[in-house]
Assembly symmetry: C2
Homo-oligomer: 365 residues x 2
């Protein structure tokens, strides 16, 4: 069921709409449709909503691809995608597959979004498993990205090397990073630290026996794929990073398995939330603290905004033959504007081609 | 080389000194000796320092067990302990083994501290591998503890079940928690989420096939070992927790493998440090923000203090036949006062007996 034929070129992609799953997320369809409307009117991004017309309601003039089913937030992902062939998620993925949309965005069931994208768009040639890349703020700089942030609880060293390649292609496409640096999440700087998975991945990324699958790894920003066709993405491997290096990350890409990545990401989110809440509690102590807080909040809020998941544009699925943005389940209209913007930008900048080139099997190189 | 004969009873332990590795940590010996001195004079805790006399310098009247070697912070742990038999770390562990100290405290090389404690004190009967328990703040309540926070990068389900048992015994001994709750760190609440390790551990902790090794697991606070001898510790298994549940943890004990635990712990430490630093930056923006900060700081600092590693008393090694507190490498005098206090309290409250009882093989039960 995956894509047949050529991917649309940049000009064609820019004219295609972004498919928005109108029924995905805790605040669907209200906030989702509102965010899509704003992205269309404020940014001029072409949009197509997907959902059951009677449930979506007013589309504010946005086109709607009708369907009859919705995969619930807590539904079994694989089963949902298999059974609900006329669901908003599956139909959105099919629009990308069929060249009728440049990208899909959903704030719905994360597992089902991944499954729909994977099953309908298919994997890019050579990709072992798609992964999720999630931005990590670095105040005043472009975010770093964590891959895999939760798609694959179990990983092999070869998968982690591909996550590095795809993550580097992603920061290049999204942020224009020309010489991405990649770090490997571990429990010590030394290459001997960590699990066998981490130690073997370290050896591959450092270039010893990297082989074709990681031919650019560790060879520095100057190394490029010499083959024909799109240029492979080089990156510089900076070695192991630790949990304390996640904020702010010294590397543009932090590679880990999806279990560790998900735990670490949620630990960061939880601790920042905890501290913000505790701080707000202090601010409200008495009239004097409230007045002091009024002075500081104009300075603190922009900083806090950089940590808000709603402003990061959501997570990107990498390795599928089409752009798929997975937005937080709690997404509001602001989150959706940002998610649609990221989806559109990455699609028109040829993210999929970049990822394909970074992973392309050596036989095709 | 492990302990022979009976452990000292509570009264005997209270009379024994805490052995402090005077050469352990980035700020050794100055801050370490000063912290030990304060614990002795302010809390009346008996202390014995261990270190080379010419390097330790003034002991302010504290007794010193002399030795000739020091294991460096970055030295290979196993090799250091094997080669440097007359090092402060090894000698401190031997004092506990030989019944001449109630506990040992070091802010030195974490791996070497574990190795010295394990090799000299030995494992408690039935313990597969010792683990590190690190406190996680819960504002206004007793901290939760994370086990394993980094001793074992690779774990089996049976090891994780023991971490739960030892962690529960620890919070009972240290904080007086009568019915400890235990959660399992994973990437979703459902028992089907996570790695095979997590899924198998979940099944064991939930009681299905727990067997003798986890005989109290999941059976609620009412369940007690009916055998003779010390009473086993019961705990209530509350299911999976996610990274966002670490601060504040709804469970008294959070169980995970040492790789995930170390990454998560350092992610928390790093994000809190990042946010505090960013906040301090905002406070210093101009005279108005400085004045506002002066109003708020008396309220913010006590909160920040709860997050400071120096105030948590360090991490506890569980499963060895003797109390061993592993303090942060950056420990100052305040950290050491707290670490010595925790070591002394846990030793005199019979932590080792409690852990032994929680783990005791069924044949002895």
């Amino acid at each position: 069921m995956s894509r047949r034929g050529e991917r649309p070129d940049a000009e064609a992609l820019a004219a295609l709409p972004v498919a928005v799953d109108a029924m995905g997320g805790d605040k669907a369809p209200g906030e989702i449709v509102e965010g899509a409307r704003r992205a269309a009117t404020e940014d001029g991004i072409p949009i197509v909503l997907v959902g059951p017309p009677d449930q979506v309601g007013d589309t504010f003039g946005l086109p709607l691809v009708p369907c009859t089913e919705v995969i619930a937030m807590d539904e079994d992902p694989a089963g949902g995608v298999r059974r609900k062939k006329d669901s908003s998620l599956v139909r959105a993925a099919e629009l990308v597959r069929d060249g009728k949309a440049s990208a899909m965005v959903s704030a719905g069931n994360t597992g089902a979004t991944m499954a729909a994208a994977l099953l309908r768009m298919g994997r890019l040639p050579g990709v072992i498993r798609p992964c999720i890349a999630t931005p990590l703020p670095r105040l005043g700089r472009t975010p770093a990205v964590l891959v895999d942030a939760g798609a694959n609880a179990e990983c092999t060293p070869a998968m982690l090397v591909q996550f590095a390649q795809m993550g580097a292609a992603y920061v290049a496409a999204r942020f224009g990073t020309t010489s991405p640096t990649v770090g490997l999440l571990s429990i010590g700087e030394e290459s001997t630290k960590g699990t066998p998975l981490v130690k073997e991945t370290h050896a591959l990324l450092a270039g010893a026996g990297a082989g074709a699958g990681a031919r650019d790894a560790g060879s520095g920003a100057g190394a490029r794929d010499a083959g024909s066709g799109p240029t492979g993405f080089a990156f510089e491997f900076v070695g192991n990073l630790e949990g304390r290096d996640l904020l702010p990350s010294p590397a543009d890409v932090i590679v880990t398995d999806g279990f560790t990545g998900n735990v670490a990401l949620k630990a960061l989110e939880g601790s920042l939330r905890f501290l913000f809440d505790a701080m707000l509690g202090v601010f409200g102590t008495n009239d004097e603290t409230k007045a002091a807080a009024d002075v500081l909040l104009p300075y603190l809020l922009p900083m806090a905004a950089e940590f808000e998941p709603e402003n990061t544009g959501g997570a990107m699925l990498l390795g599928t033959d089409g752009v798929c943005v997975i937005s937080h389940g709690s997404s509001n209209a602001v989150s959706m504007v940002n998610a649609v913007r990221v989806a559109y930008e990455c699609a028109t900048r040829g993210l999929v081609d970049h990822v394909a080139a970074a992973i392309r099997p050596p036989a095709e190189g």
